[in-house]
Symmetry: C2
Subunit: 322 residues, 2 copies
């Protein structure tokens, strides 16, 4: 029995192994993903993002507890594109600290690295698909940081929760503006801090100015204290309200089209580059180009032109004798 | 006279126009970049990164003043991959607030968006090359945030300054670990805050544990108060010390190889995807694939396999009649 079949029967160890194979770029992993794909599309996918220090991990922990209390299986993908070097260890610590780590109804996976050959959004998509196919009812994608990678990642979610924290200064205001449009629900965490109400009001005003850009959905700003388990039930209720809205309004169709298009483009981009780069790396041409660039004898734009012409034919050239 | 020739004569308006053409993906821009490329490689490139709220913009402002005081021309590229939507406006504000905005010896450009067809690291590389070719002695790349994109971006610099700020909490510690290895110089800004000395000590300890990973260079931790112009001369002196180290030790060769390889790979990746995606987008196949994914009749992995086989031939297949 292949890995995919074992995973479809709920085998967590097989799932963990496939995810390692995905990380390691094994070709066999792609075949397993093909088998799993028809079984995906059932999980409710939640994205949690926000600046460092906002308490996202604790919040994910509490949200997981709510879903577990309702008998749902929960998958958690913790993504940290911030730490290309030592990030793995840090995420490992986070996972060990998660109180659901020993629960059979919870599957946790961290993704910490992004190489040149693999985008972190692509591997996140693959991992979410594995969790979906293995029967996780809810999959939570938690990102560290608020960069473009994180934005790409949370776009894979049905519902995105942006976690803010009171009083992080003016630069945070700028970030708020940037992530305003990706949040379906806003949580001001650490709401016991004195500035909490001001942050809630400011966010509400910014969202009001921004209204209409999220279609018919009006994002709410909720207060939470994840470390004391306050406001979590209300947050989950609002997430579920957004989920119902997606189906009721028909917005789900456009969202799924976007998600699928995105996943396909990520896979295509990576395969194209791997194919061509692998070739010029092996035959020594890559080295030659870089050496040419060092002395400015060769410019990278012309080098790429040449490779494209060889691979795809010169643009505008008619086929011979046509 | 083409844009490139005008830029080589120091025409700032021509440079601004080429940068817009690069953003808009005009093919003509690539031709201009080819002409400019042999004239690049002279500028000293500085990367400034660190978490939001660390006061990077003010620091860049002060560093610029030091270089201007020494008669150097300064290019500034402010990169904000955080804000795919409204970021442009925010960066625009930042630029207007820069006191060097009216100085002819300073050229400022913001990059705020990253589409599917263009990586922000690639466009940053192009813009740095234009500034280099037009005769900027120093080019400062300032990033907002500390994600993987930012790490990729600062790898284009000769010297990277990581800006930290006292007392941002535990999650920041995690980020510190992630960016420890990219910093050549560390600045603890807002050093008038009470936690400043503790942050300096913690960073110094982490760097000590980490020593050896940056080759022979030992990064120092300096205190700055950008808003009061304190510690800036010392910071610039340390950056220049790193620059001299690069050449003295020969480390510059490996660094330039990395930089050039990276730029070439970015250009290649983008061109490959643009070529193939453009084709399947126009002929309707992309739409067909996404629709197939929606109903789970089609999986994206097999769809990519098919495209690769058509474009590059099936792996392992012999040519007919050979």
């Amino acid at each position: 029995m292949g890995l995919a079949e074992q995973i479809l029967q709920g085998d967590m160890r097989a799932a963990a192994r496939l995810m390692r194979d995905i990380d390691d770029g094994f070709k066999s992993a792609v075949e397993e993903l093909k088998t799993l794909y028809p079984h995906t599309g059932k999980a409710y996918i939640i994205g949690i993002t926000g600046p460092p220090g906002a308490g996202k991990s604790t919040l994910v922990d509490q949200i997981t507890a709510v879903y577990r209390g309702g008998g749902k299986k929960v998958g958690i993908v913790a993504v940290d594109p911030t730490s290309p070097f030592t990030g793995g260890a840090i995420l490992g610590d986070r996972i060990r600290m998660n109180r659901h780590a020993e629960d059979d109804g919870v599957f946790i996976r961290s993704l910490a690295t992004r190489g040149y050959l693999g985008g972190v959004s692509r591997s996140t998509g693959d991992v979410v698909n594995v969790m979906d196919a293995m029967g996780m009812d809810t999959v939570i994608i938690e990102t560290v940081g608020v960069g473009q990678d994180e934005v790409d990642i949370v776009r894979m979610a049905h519902t995105t929760v942006v976690v803010m924290v009171p009083g992080l200064g003016d630069d945070i205001q700028a970030i708020k503006a940037g992530i305003l449009e990706i949040g379906d629900v806003f949580a001001v965490n650490k709401a016991d801090r004195e500035d909490a109400d001001r942050t809630v009001r400011e966010l509400a005003v910014m969202l009001e100015m921004n209204s209409g850009k999220n279609g018919g959905w009006r994002p709410k700003v909720l207060k939470t204290e994840a470390s004391r388990n306050r406001g979590i039930e209300e947050l989950v209720a609002e997430m579920e309200e957004h989920r119902r809205y997606l189906y009721r309004s028909g917005a789900i169709k456009h969202l799924l089209e976007e998600k699928n298009a995105r996943l396909f483009m990520e896979i295509l981009k990576e395969r194209l580059f791997t194919e061509v780069f692998g070739h010029i790396h092996v035959n020594g041409r890559f080295r030659e180009i870089v050496e040419g660039m060092m002395t400015r004898q060769k410019d990278p734009y012309s080098a790429v032109d040449e490779i494209m012409a060889e691979r795809f034919g010169a643009p505008g050239n008619d086929p011979p004798f046509s």
